[in-house]
């Protein structure tokens, strides 16, 4: 009954979404007042998808093997948390989660949004419903998550052991929340293009969604990077893998949108460009979902290739993005650009930021899809890897990071104050960083050295917007910006340190043998078999020391039984100045063991920086939402806008 309830809720939600589209057409073609029913229907639709998703969680939690999806992706021997997480660790479940988050976001917009005009809101909720309808059709006709098996098999087939990790429980939902936040920006943009009301009010309505989506994407990428780092056992934090790029591209577009939307909100300028970015940011989310779920690009995150699902997603992508682009070409001309600005101004600084981010986005997009196009046109096979991305996107990212230190100091419209004079301290830090790296490490590459230099500059410059005023009276949004920009400098310093100073040792060691890596002496003490709930493993005991004292690390190689897979569980020890990263591999015929050891100075700064960037975003979001929540208590305000 549980599965059937879920399916029924899904059908009802799809029906309500269709009704929303009807209401939208009514609102656009006549002056009928539809806002009130529209809000109600959107909220009901959100509730129904939530019920459907709760039912899916329930069948997974109960290991109901008569549901085909549970049978294929779960096993009664799995720990409970992974049983529940298994609900979205597969194609059908993840699509249901997508549409659930989409519909709930729609419900929130319907419930809280008072900033735009009623017609624009109706149009935005209508386009949100159109997005949802595509996914409902997908779920109901092509990949029903509630399909039954008869007779019910005794036990399930399990879940890819690489995904049996706490990261799985949170990584995809975080990214999906981010993608769906961008869908709200998309819907607002489409709604505003339809009604022609592209103005500062729209930007303020969109901004919390873009900001929220951007925070989650930042967290998702940071966490995903750390997951790849410790779970894949290759010691790297970013592989320029197509699936990683699929999450980076929406982030780049969202970052650009986040900055241009401020120009629209504050000055009423960059209207067409901001609408375009809102469409592109969501398009990139769709492209990302398509690339991951269709499995058409070769990736370490191997998903099965399924042409039918891929075709469906590609058709949705074509319809949504194509329609939005056509709408843009048709209505974009009627947008009047807002207040003008001069060459040296906050606005032009943000335009440069947008241009650089867009170029980097283009580089990543091109690099990700280039092999596909070359093969389509010439039948030649090639792959584009880290050397291309680092060489082309790296320098641009450094230029951008340098400008991040300067842009926030400029004032709106035109700059009259001598900004360069404020930059004395950052310039000194920057030169200092350069001199120190030349003295301490004369042999490092040009990109890491430039990374240290720019990071030094930005570490100092990012705090300047708080330096000329009482920091405790500065708005929370300014604090958010400062923290996020500081986080960029921290992450950059970590990347440069990792690139410049990592030591690596791949060796075969007998028991009792000691190896050196960086400042460390690592001894292989013993190797013992161990077992967990659904795996067996060999566990190495390593004793590591530098100078006085020693620590013990226990890397494992695990063998999972259902399905049979082998994974490396690296053992990582974190110190204030870096991480010692160890992996144990196979035994060779002579009885010695493969060991992979890394010493990675200050590598943790990369993820600390990512977390700071997201935290800065959260501060800014809080700064935007607090006044709004406070004002909601005043009835006269509500009467004025509602």
């Amino acid at each position: 009954m549980i599965a059937e309830t879920g399916l029924a809720a899904l059908w009802l939600a799809a029906g309500l979404a269709a009704y929303q589209v009807f209401l939208m057409v009514l609102a656009l073609r006549s002056s009928v007042e539809v806002a009130r029913p529209m809000r109600g229907v959107a909220v009901a639709q959100g509730m129904l998808t939530l019920i459907a998703f709760a039912m899916l969680l329930l069948v997974f939690a109960r290991s109901d093997m008569s549901v085909s999806l549970v049978f294929a992706n779960s096993n009664s021997a799995k720990p409970f948390i992974y049983k529940v997480a298994g609900a979205w660790g597969n194609h059908e479940g993840s699509m249901l989660m997508w549409v659930t988050i989409l519909a709930i976001a729609g419900a929130f917009v319907a419930f809280f949004s008072r900033r735009t005009g009623e017609r624009t809101l109706a149009a935005a909720l209508g386009s949100q419903a159109i997005l949802a309808l595509g996914f409902y059709a997908f779920l109901l006709f092509a990949s029903n998550p509630f399909a039954r098996l008869f007779p019910a098999p005794p036990d399930g087939q399990g879940l890819n052991p690489l995904l049996q990790d706490p990261g799985l429980a949170f990584h995809p939902p975080t990214l999906y929340l981010g993608y769906v936040g961008l869908s709200v920006a998309f819907s607002f943009a489409v709604g505003a293009l339809l009604t022609g009301e592209v103005d500062a009010r729209l930007a303020r309505a969109m901004r919390p969604w873009v900001l929220g989506a951007w925070i989650l994407l930042t967290l998702g990428i940071t966490a995903g990077s750390y997951w790849a780092y410790y779970e894949l056992g290759w010691g790297g934090y970013w592989f320029w893998d197509p699936v990683e790029n699929a999450s980076l591209m929406p982030w780049l577009a969202a970052t650009a949108l986040l900055h241009s939307i401020n120009v629209l909100a504050a000055r009423g300028a960059l209207k067409a460009w901001t609408m375009m970015l809102a469409v592109i940011a969501f398009s990139m989310s769709m492209v990302g979902t398509f690339l991951v779920r269709s499995g058409i690009l070769t990736s370490v995150h191997a998903f099965a290739i399924d042409p039918e699902r891929g075709t469906f997603l590609l058709a949705l992508l074509a319809i949504y993005v194509g329609a939005a682009f056509i709408l843009f070409a048709w209505r974009g001309a009627s947008l009047k650009e807002g207040a003008p600005f001069e060459l040296v101004s906050r606005e032009s600084g943000l335009v440069v930021n947008n241009l650089l981010l867009s170029v980097i986005l283009g580089i990543v997009f091109l690099g990700t899809l280039y092999p596909l196009f070359v093969e389509a046109l010439t039948a030649e096979k090639l792959s584009v890897g880290a050397p291309y991305f680092n060489a082309v996107a790296g320098p641009l990212a450094l230029v951008l990071a340098l400008l991040v230190g300067i842009g926030p100091l400029l004032s709106w419209r035109r700059e009259r104050r001598p900004v360069l004079r404020q930059l004395k301290v950052p310039a000194l830090v920057c030169v200092g960083a350069l001199v120190i790296t030349v003295i301490v490490a004369p042999g490092i590459g040009i990109l890491p050295r430039a990374g240290f230099t720019v990071a030094g500059f930005l570490l100092a410059a990012s705090a300047l917007p708080l330096a000329n005023r009482n920091p405790f009276r500065a708005p929370l949004a300014t604090w958010g910006m400062v923290v996020a920009h500081f986080g960029i400098a921290v992450a950059l310093a970590g990347m440069a340190a990792n690139a410049a100073f990592s030591s690596e040792r791949l060796a075969i060691a007998q028991l009792g043998e000691a190896l050196s890596v960086g400042p460390w002496q690592v001894e292989l003490v013993s190797v013992t078999p161990t077992a967990g709930k659904n795996w067996t493993a060999i566990e190495g005991e390593l004793r590591a020391s530098r100078g006085s004292g020693s620590i013990t690390l226990t890397p494992e190689t695990r063998y999972y039984s259902d399905p049979p897979t082998e994974t490396n569980e690296s053992a990582i020890e974190t110190f204030w100045d870096g991480q010692l990263y160890t992996v144990i591999g196979k035994q060779d015929p002579s009885g010695a063991w493969q060991l992979r050891l890394w010493w990675k100075p200050f590598v943790t700064l990369i993820w600390a920086g990512g977390a700071l960037i997201a935290f800065g975003g959260a501060l800014a979001l809080l700064g935007r939402l607090l006044p709004f929540l406070r004002r909601r208590r005043h009835p006269e305000w509500r009467r004025g806008y509602a």
């Binding site: 492209v287 042409p307 682009f325 056509i326 070409a329 974009g332 899809l369 596909l372 093969e375 389509a376």
Partner: protein, 175 residues
């Protein structure tokens, strides 16, 4: 912005969509064929994988008649679906030997009872050594061996119904 400029995104989108659609229709061929194709079989001797069926020696495969060598395992889900196809080939007179990779006698017997047993001999390759020597990187894979013990062709992944005529034709040509 002129209308022409605003049409650029649509043109780019069409370009990207057509590329993605092409890849969907023609999925990338990621299988890397074995370097052993066109070379003689490596020498090996494998013990019996189940009670009541003999093991496999590389000389068993040099019989003067072309035959198939199927690499499989009881823990491999696609192998189970391949069972029907191998049965059909067997019914049409194709001789098939098997190598069971990292398997146990009990699990293998249960697998053969469930999915049928098209094999004349099954060797047990507990450590994947022979599998690696053959240049096979996964299960299931099927090698076509000619009468002199030379590897003629490698099928990566499970055979399906559409492969049957091709396999029969190849074996016929080698006779």
């Amino acid at each position: 912005m002129s209308r022409g400029l605003r049409l650029i995104p649509i043109i780019l989108l069409l370009f990207v969509l057509s590329g993605l659609a092409w890849r969907l229709i023609k999925p990338a061929d990621t299988a890397v064929p074995s370097q052993m194709v066109t070379r003689p079989l490596p020498q090996f001797t494998l013990p019996a994988a189940t009670a009541g069926q003999s093991g496999l020696n590389s000389n068993d495969l040099v019989t003067g008649r072309p035959r198939l060598l199927n690499i499989f395992a009881s823990w491999c889900v696609p192998c189970a679906s391949e069972g029907k196809i191998l049965q059909e080939l067997r019914r049409r007179g194709v001789e098939i030997d098997g190598i069971a990779v990292r398997d146990t006698p009990d699990a293998l017997s249960a697998f053969l009872n469930r999915n049928g047993n098209p094999y004349e001999r099954i060797g047990s390759d507990r450590k994947s050594e022979v599998q690696i020597a053959l240049g096979s990187s996964g299960v299931p894979e099927t090698f076509v061996i000619d009468g002199r013990g030379v590897i003629r062709r490698q099928y990566i992944g499970p055979l399906n119904a559409s492969n049957i005529p091709g396999v029969l034709r190849e074996l016929e040509q080698m006779r």
